[in-house]
Symmetry: C2
Subunit: 400 residues, 2 copies
């Protein structure tokens, strides 16, 4: 069910095991498959349906058979461990966390407008919010002997995917050990997304969900965990997914000079109205909607919205959970899920065009930067400037 072979692909094609995908997805790359939902549906529900949750694959989707799946764990006392899927499910309590995942390249297209960067040209929808269920990584590591002796030497937890390139190299990444073992880190070895087994595109049968951390470290199709004094040696940890100064370009970049991205900065974007839409001047006001989220479990405190390019600001109403499943406020530092926001703003007198802008504030009172040029970086990651949408005001068009 969650694994669907494309009938047309030949097994000699490394992409023979790709699942079928939702036709509404907007495809940035076919092989590996990378796609985001249309902006018009992104914030229709607080929980993003799995079928339209952004897909960010670095390599072909691996064909994993649950009956023979093994998760290997290294770097703990007693040597290597090998765990079946049913052992993972039965030996450890099942925890559920609602967490937003965002690609480091979300909104890269805004950065491309400043100066061309290298990477998939993501719009604003390489972000989604889901419920994830699985074993807590902390519980698994403690069960297999993690303790002060290991903590004295180790600093990182490395993850290796079962997805491989043509040379046999796996996707890999790591997170800091203290995030992995903290009681408040909520890192999962997830085997369910939105109440069902993980879809093939989201890591079936087991993936890492490290809430508050960039998507790239939430390794899918998890094959191996290594507790280590070193970060993952993978290309994606060492030579990608890092931020640089706008003054640094490919001729001068030293990837060792920047740390791997872990927590992401404050982010927000407008999902309604869309760029170029017309707003009815007779309505007297415009309804603006969007999402806001911050990394590291920092809660979104406030979203300011402007219809005059940022001269005057209005405070949006925040929605913190599924209407049907109201949630308790998150405890400090554990706000893993996005907030959806909405506001009706009076139309300025005689305005013929609106420059709608949003900017969010998180619980550390960090804010989004005003424009993309000062945060431009050669990989086009961390694109979190104020989001801007231009719409016309007219009496004729009534598509708001």
């Amino acid at each position: 069910e969650s694994y669907k072979k494309q009938e047309s692909a030949h097994p000699s094609d490394p992409y023979f095991a790709e699942p079928t995908r939702h036709p509404a997805l907007q495809i940035n790359s076919q092989k590996p498959f990378n796609a985001e939902p249309p902006v018009s549906i992104l914030t229709d529900s607080y929980i993003t349906p799995s079928a339209v949750f952004f897909k960010r694959n670095h390599l072909p989707v691996p064909r994993v058979v649950s009956e023979t799946y093994k998760l290997e764990i290294e770097g703990l006392p007693g040597g290597a461990v090998s765990l079946t899927l049913s052992e993972l499910k039965s030996r450890f309590p099942k925890h559920t966390v609602t967490a937003t995942l965002q690609c480091a390249g979300n909104r890269r297209s805004d950065m491309n407008k400043v100066k061309q960067v290298k990477g998939l040209n993501w719009g604003i929808a390489a972000i989604g919010n889901a419920t994830w269920s699985g074993a807590r990584l902390r519980d698994v590591l403690l069960y297999y002997g993690f303790g002060p002796d290991v903590a004295a030497k180790a600093r990182h937890v490395q993850f290796e995917g079962l997805d491989r390139d043509v040379t046999g190299t796996s996707y890999g990444a790591s997170i800091p050990l203290n995030k992995a073992v903290s009681e408040e880190g909520d890192v999962l070895l997830a085997y369910e997304m939105n109440g069902e087994e993980l879809p093939a595109d989201h890591g079936y049968p087991v993936r890492v969900v490290a809430p508050g951390i960039v998507g790239a470290r939430n390794v899918k199709w998890l094959g191996r965990i290594v507790v280590s004094d070193e970060e993952s040696k993978s290309h994606w940890q060492q030579n990608d997914y890092k931020g640089f100064s706008p003054g640094t370009d490919w001729d001068t970049v030293d990837f060792k000079s920047a740390p791997a991205i872990q927590e992401l900065p404050i982010q927000s974007a407008i999902t309604h109205p869309a760029e170029g839409m017309s707003v009815d001047s007779n309505a007297g006001e415009v309804t603006v909607k969007g999402y806001a989220w911050s990394g590291g479990g920092r809660e979104v405190l406030r979203v300011d919205v402007s219809v005059d390019g940022g001269n005057t600001w209005h405070v949006a109403k925040l929605r913190t959970s599924d209407e049907h499943n109201p949630a308790l406020p998150p405890s400090p530092g554990r706000a893993w899920a996005w907030k959806l926001w909405e506001i009706d703003i009076p139309l300025p007198d005689k305005a013929q065009e609106l420059q709608i802008v949003c900017k969010a504030v998180d619980s550390s009172y960090n804010v989004q930067p005003e424009s993309s040029a000062p945060i431009w970086n050669l990989r086009g990651v961390l694109s979190n400037a104020w989001h801007r949408v231009k719409v016309k005001v007219s009496e004729d068009h009534k598509d708001n």
Copy 2:
């Protein structure tokens, strides 16, 4: 020694117990005493000397006699505890943490240039970096019975100072419980600053040092600790030290709508050259220096410096510790101390004026906002826009 009575004050004056202060301090308010060091000396040393460390008093300095000092602790099993200074020192291991404290109002003067705000007109020096030694708050709370039973109900740790207003109301503040009891929170009940007993202006004999948290919660002259399900009821927790939208002013503000500031956002500023200085065009370059720091233990990753108003950027060299006491790199989330930075930037051809700008990036890749207007707030707190300094380039003046 650390407590020096001003001989001229009469005991009926609530300010009778004010200590003598360093003459170099720039005074923003005499009663209560609020002062910052001259910018020219702020980054002369990695550790800020106590005498010139910014003073931010809300009330008169209380006269506390160490022999009769008692620290009260409430909200733990077994009822109220009363602890002498020698008990605090002997019963709990002494820990030392190097931590930067910053006033929420640091750089308020930049915000005042946008539109008048309420508060002391701090420059860029309401920040300092010191070594603090004392008992860990966590150790004290655990010793007096903190455990899962308390954690199930409590959410905050309240602090009450021994400083009082004319009605007898004490200064007070609180921090989240998880910060207070975390092994990685490093919250101290400090009785030493820079290797000596606390000076009177910095909380003699005992103060809270909550690294990564706004200065206002680092309560001085600590008299009482209350573990509670509620935040401090004090004016400073409830109706002050909160951030609001630029669209919110005194006629519309609802202090309940924003959470109390705890962690501060990313900050940096230029300490050399000073505004209006002349740079020698024959030197061919200009040396720029400053500080950078972020709240929540987030490490400063990079400081970008521009001499052309932010069009082109150069990456500064960071200094992470005292040259004479090189420190290990901080573990993730525990970078409590500032970084000093320095860079030599070539003078642009034929430039007659330089617009020097700095902006820092922290380990969550949060950045400073470009200008103050979009973060303007009625109390003028959280002023962390790019810092800008204008200097002249000339052949005559050689004061660089």
